[in-house]
Symmetry: C2
Subunit: 582 residues, 2 copies
């Protein structure tokens, strides 16, 4: 079997199809966006029968290329109303790759309410009723499925938030040890899965045929070059920044740059930054001992290992993991400087099946609306539990930051295309602002991570407050990222491939080795552009125009301390990001 | 004084300006849309400092032309995100006309929270603090202001819903006897007024200069012709349909046509229609006696007098008035056949300051979400009270039908551009569907009332289920309506002017007489087109494109009983409504 598993939820029927010939060169985001573009009517209701969920591992996922265990999920987003791709690092990506499944496409909607489980193995897929999983939090789903299908199974699930069709619901994948903790979080794709009555997928890779590699020698050469790059770069090497302190190493860095959004994007410096920094997380893990660990990996074969397991005071496991984004979202953004409260908020997100970024931005907005005091971690936990309770307040919060701000008549809502902004204030780091605003995905730092040169001096060095050339910078990063999101590689390989031409070449060689293509590094932005084109095309047909590529109004008139900058890149400049393709 | 009263809420300053020369030919909607188009940035946040509220009486409002007491309110809608005009019939329209105030423009936003009252008289305007009115329901505001400023004052106010910036909040005007009951309801303009801290306006017309009529003889001739038309037509004459049974005369008619949306637009016939019909309202008014009355007028000088005062069982006043739309919205649309429950729901809307159409459509959606059973009037009253309580559930409901449906992850949400659909199912009456979908205002029957020929055999006769020619029909009605909405005449004069060329000529003559223009009846659609053009232009710049001119998806695949029709007019046909101007 190779190709596509198509799951028709109208008829509760699963079929296996060959990948169409012209899709052969795609994986991950390139494939999800292509299928969504070609098969989903752009004007459909995101929770209706015509939307689809597409799950696709990257091109090299399942090989032994380093840090390549990413899987993409695509569909029309109930949050933004546009096309959406969100990806996660997980052994599931590798299992799908080794099963030679290029995509799982879930379509239609059952006539009767109910919950189903999709079983996937080397022979195809089968839908079975899953009433016993209904309403279960993600850790319970994982436990039940590992119990029934063995510890080596791969599990994809939604939590109660997805079942309740809340638009901040993500899709959860297991990590290396089986935790329900790795998320294709953004854009509410969990709600789309929930609307189809699909509670979970379980993947059995017994006798999987493995990834077909057309040129094994080239693959070996390429993987080696990339591996060496990753092992040399200060950010990604063993014992390097990410490995030692996790992504939350960025807390102190952004705070010093005055770009750490604090108390719902009202300041760029958080007085409690040190207490929630990656360094402090690392200290606590060491002090508390027990199950805590730094340098945890989300999938086998990762060189970078930026994940962590955060322990309670008694050493027992609290949550995996405290990422920079989650840490910031519930920390600085809510004025909370207590890591245990932050850990609990993240744990609740993992259990309910929520995107931590959207949840944290929503919490900041809820605090702005007066539902809790900034800094009150216990009140934040109570608010988060409302989502689990499915109360009216939970219904508001569970639909995200734009929805919550609108419910309370606020104007200070830090979103683009209704998606909450990640952990970099666009007024202090202008290039990432251009990415937030112009990405087809809504506010998304991973869509074009200009933080590398703006803050980290990786891939060059540019002034974060400068506005000139930021459109070009973001454009290039978005192009390259669209390619990377299709490969199955973790975005963090970008550090090495930006700084080391050899590593970049190696990355391209592994892709060529699998696909039989002859891409050069120069082709990367071109291939990325093709993906961005179809995403923009879908959005335009969904009614998302240049007028949606705009910052929230308050950032145009409210200057951010300490730099006292507004977001001062004009509409015309923003539109120019896409001039070259339209 | 003549022209514009400009109220700057940033500085709490009121100035009087001359009307710009090129605005001289406009009144009502023509003027509000022009000011909004020219002065409001289309991409601004509707509740932010850059939106404006524009209040403008019609061209002939304040004269003795029959049924001419309409006033328009314009701004960017927090509900649709586009341009909005909503109008009401009220003595206030006439007072503004006689004061020669063409428009009140409220702009900016105070630095500090608070409530203000704008006092208007022949010398201009003055802002005074109004903390004592804060949080008051509309009847309390009216009582307080009549007490302070005399019973002859005109009052414009918002209820608590507007203060709480809920996007189904309307703006309330007093009726002939001073009731807080006449609404510029649609599109959430009450929330915009609330966002500016403006709780109410009080208008004193002492020593008003009266409307300047350039050609008094022509005016007399025209008014007489129109008056005769209104007094002859079966719909509008004294003792005619509207006068005898009110607008709710339409309940039985639409029910028979299979186009009365029932239980959240799932059927076109309501088994309880008779119990909530205009005929039954009239019977109850007669039986119960006391304060009840049919043939009530919303403003002095109305020939049609289609309003009513509905009494409780003991004869004491319950509410004015039970309009067709409100009656349907809480009645058939919620499966409720008890007029006393409907009356109470309307009374709560009037008190909280809500658009009854949006509130009723929201209630139907809430019932679909399982918040109450269809048909349970008492549960509906309790839900409505949540809006007054400003609870989380009230926050959901108070933001309208689209918001409520989204909160609960529904797909059956009967809206266009997020505005709830009025009382005609577009699958059974296709022309009004084209109006709902293509109007710049969102779903709005008054934007192009094709019901006249489709259901009432007025202005011709066309098959409501037929799709061909419905785009042209809606286009023409929308053009003429944009003109009528600018005159200050009630839309119901359309019955007479459609059927009697003399009445139509008379209407145009009164406008010419006031303005000094030489319009012919043939110019009416041309002038209307100019208004529609600037409204479409604003919307496009606000990001509302042809892709927003679409029916809710479920109406494309769910056939409506009893006719079993879907909404089957293609996107291309819908877009063709505007081909001629773009």
């Amino acid at each position: 079997m190779a190709g596509i598993i198509r799951v028709n939820m109208n008829e509760l029927k699963v079929t296996v199809e060959d990948l169409p010939a012209d899709y052969n060169l795609l994986g991950g985001r390139g494939l999800t966006s292509r299928v969504v573009h070609d098969e989903v009517p752009p004007d459909c209701h995101p929770l209706g029968p015509y939307n689809k969920i597409v799950i696709a591992p990257g091109v090299v996922s399942g090989t032994n290329a380093p840090s390549s265990g990413r899987v993409s999920v695509g569909g029309k987003s109930p949050l933004t109303g546009g096309i959406k791709e969100a990806n996660a690092g997980t052994p599931v990506a590798q299992k799908l790759g080794r099963l030679r499944i290029k995509a799982v496409i879930v379509e239609g909607k059952p006539a009767e309410k109910g919950s189903w489980l999709l079983k996937i193995n080397k022979d195809g897929g089968e839908l079975v009723p899953a009433d016993s999983l209904e309403g279960k939090v993600t850790s319970e789903v994982n436990r039940a499925l590992f119990n029934d299908y063995g510890e080596k199974a791969g599990v994809i699930t939604i939590g109660p938030a997805g079942e309740n069709r809340m638009s901040m619901a993500g899709i959860c994948f297991n990590d290396t040890e089986g935790r329900a903790s790795r998320y294709a979080g953004r854009g509410g794709l969990g709600a789309v899965m929930g609307s189809k009555g699909l509670k979970a997928l379980v993947i059995d890779e017994t006798d999987a045929p493995k990834v077909e590699i057309k040129d094994p020698d080239l693959f070996k050469t390429g993987a080696k070059k990339l591996n060496e790059g990753l092992r040399s770069h200060f950010a990604t090497k063993p014992g390097g920044t990410l490995n030692s302190f996790g992504t939350a190493a960025l807390i102190n860095i952004l705070n010093e740059a005055g770009g750490l959004p604090t108390r719902n994007f009202s300041e760029g410096v958080f007085e409690g930054a040190r207490q929630i920094s990656g360094e402090t997380i690392s200290d606590k893990v060491q002090q508390r001992g027990g199950s805590g660990m730094m340098g945890h990996s989300c999938h086998p074969g990762c060189v970078i290992r930026c994940s962590n397991v955060y322990p309670k005071a008694d050493g027992s496991e609290h949550v995996s993991c405290i990422e920079y984004e989650s840490d910031w979202a519930f920390g600085a953004n809510c004025g909370i400087d207590n890591l245990d409260h932050i850990a609990e908020l993240i744990r609740l997100c993992n259990e309910y099946g929520l995107d931590t970024i959207e949840a944290g931005v929503t919490m900041g907005v809820a605090m702005e609306a007066g539902l809790a005091e900034f800094g009150d971690g216990e009140a934040a936990i109570r608010l988060m539990q409302e989502i689990g309770n499915n109360s009216p307040l939970g219904r508001i919060l569970g639909n995200g930051s734009y929805f919550t701000g609108t419910a309370y008549g606020l104007t200070r809502i830090p979103v683009v295309k209704r998606q909450g902004m990640p952990a970099y204030d666009p007024r202090a780091v202008k290039g990432i602002g251009v990415t937030y605003i112009t990405s087809p995905m809504g506010a998304d730092h991973t869509a074009g991570y200009t933080i590398a040169p703006e803050i980290l001096s990786v891939g060059g060095q540019v002034d974060p407050l400068e506005t000139s050339d930021k459109t070009e910078l973001s454009r290039t990063f978005q192009q390259v990222t669209a390619f990377l999101d299709s490969t199955g590689y973790c975005l963090f390989i970008a550090f090495a491939i930006l700084d080391y031409p050899d590593a970049n070449e190696g990355m391209v060689e592994t892709v060529n080795a699998v696909l039989g293509t002859e891409y050069t590094p120069d082709d990367v932005p071109k291939v990325g552009t093709e993906i961005l084109k179809i995403e923009r095309d879908f959005n335009r047909k969904a009614g998302i125009t240049n007028e949606s590529d705009r910052p929230p109004e308050f950032m145009k008139y409210e200057a951010l301390p300490p730099h006292k900058h507004t977001f001062d890149i004009s509409a015309g400049k923003l539109d120019s990001v896409w001039d070259y393709i339209e």
